[in-house]
Amino acid sequence: MNVELADLTRRFGRTTAVDQVSLEISAGVFGLLGPNGAGKTSLLRMMATVLPPSSGRIQLLGRDPGDYGPRREIRRRLGYLPQSLGYYPGFTVAEFVEYFALLKDMPPGQVPRAVAMAIERVGLGDRARAKLRTLSGGMLRRAGIAQAIVNEPELLLLDEPTAGLDPEQRMAFRALLREFGERATVIVSTHLVEDVGAACTDVALMDRGQLSFHGTPAELTARGEGSGAAGDAPLERGYTAALAAARAGAAGARA
């Protein structure tokens, strides 16, 4: 297993963002669905080693990120696209990606080729020398994806990666995810269920900090069949039904 979470909890003051989440994820594309404020980003940040958990256990790529040495090793093998990506507008796309490649401790000889490949894979080959300040929002997002994949990560964490991408780019991106999923663990946090349906082999649904569903996209779709749940597509109806069931269960437990 590349990701093992046991009773993982994260609190911010009196708010519990992630509440005793246990999960095991192996290679493939894993979709993390949920409404806004469900705790997806907090969970992803803990897996990205930038947010320590309040309690629980976390193992990434067979290592404990709580210790310095293993954390360093994890980070060398990690690709992370945060929800809000900061950037220096004076960098070119190539410099931006190269900077992260070098920070990720890639063998120097491989960096130029890896940078060029990553930029090409996100479709920014013709803008490699463009300053980031000149790019559109979607292009910036793609530059962010390029920095995340430049080191061929074994664990790729993407928080709302398709926000701002046009339909063509989104389809290409899903193909990229599938390609990565063949040899690495890819975790995509999103609230766009069609991304999950098209690219993910596994899916989990988070609500109010807890996992309320874990299965395949087909299983999630099945939840919606005959339920009368709202939605324009089968997977969307499954999402709505699973969410409603989770909330009804929580309300029942409280009563």
């Binding site: 900077y99 120097p108 490699a128």
Partner: protein
């Protein structure tokens, strides 16, 4: 994804080939992202201003304490520039990378402190700079440490608050004749106590910026 327009020669994208060039390249990119060239320009400007002030014998009346205002202000301003240079724009994406970031942060802070010492020490001809080069080294190092601590605690953009507050406290302490070594600017240049305190502040600041980095505003720690 389209491959149209992609430069097929990686060398045109990056010149990095071996370990040393890669390190140089990473250092250059890190420096650019922290506006270190601008910071060096500002340090040079502060040094030039100090040189003019000393050459023209700008001095504030009111005794020896007040006459240190301009050199001490220049040193504090240099420390503030160093502190705000620590702040990076990349946020968590950068923090989730390998081992180099802490060392880059440390190296940048040390290099800028050394540069600040160099330009400020060069600004004052012998005899004009109160305390001479040793005092400049001690004061800049100590105040840079305070700035780095502030950058680590309050956030990189507010790193200047530490040197600014220390400047006011130093002036007040000097006017009151305080002799505590923590007020190192008031001690003789070769005084061990002042040097130790400034060194402790510098070491604490460098350790903080190396281990935790400058807090940035890119992401608030909240649920989501």
């Amino acid at each position: 994804m389209t491959a149209a327009g992609l430069d097929s020669s990686p060398r045109k994208v990056s010149a990095a080939g071996g370990s040393a060039p890669a390190a140089m390249r990473l250092t250059r990119l890190y420096a650019a992202s922290r506006r270190i060239p601008v910071a060096l320009g500002l340090l040079a400007a502060v040094g030039a201003l100090l040189a003019v002030a000393l050459d023209q014998h700008w001095a504030i009346a009111g005794g020896p304490a007040a006459q240190r205002v301009i050199p001490l202000s220049a040193e504090a301003c240099a420390a503030a520039v160093i502190a705000v240079s620590c702040h990076g724009p990349f946020g968590e994406a950068e923090r989730a990378t390998g081992r180099w970031l802490p060392w880059l942060q440390l190296a940048a802070a040390v290099a800028l402190t050394a540069a600040a010492f160099g330009v400020l020490a060069a600004a004052g001809p012998a005899g004009l700079l109160p305390g001479g080069a040793w005092a400049v080294l001690r004061n800049v190092a100590g105040m840079s440490g305070l700035g780095l601590l502030c950058a680590s605690g309050l956030g990189g953009p507010f790193g200047w608050v530490g040197p600014a507050a220390y400047l006011v406290i130093s002036e007040a302490g000097l006017a009151a004749g305080w002799s505590t070594p923590w007020l190192w600017a008031g001690r003789p240049p070769h005084d061990l106590g002042g040097a130790v305190c400034a060194g402790v502040a510098c070491a604490a600041g460098l350790a903080a910026i190396t281990l935790t980095g400058a807090r940035g505003p890119s992401r608030s720690a909240g649920p989501g």
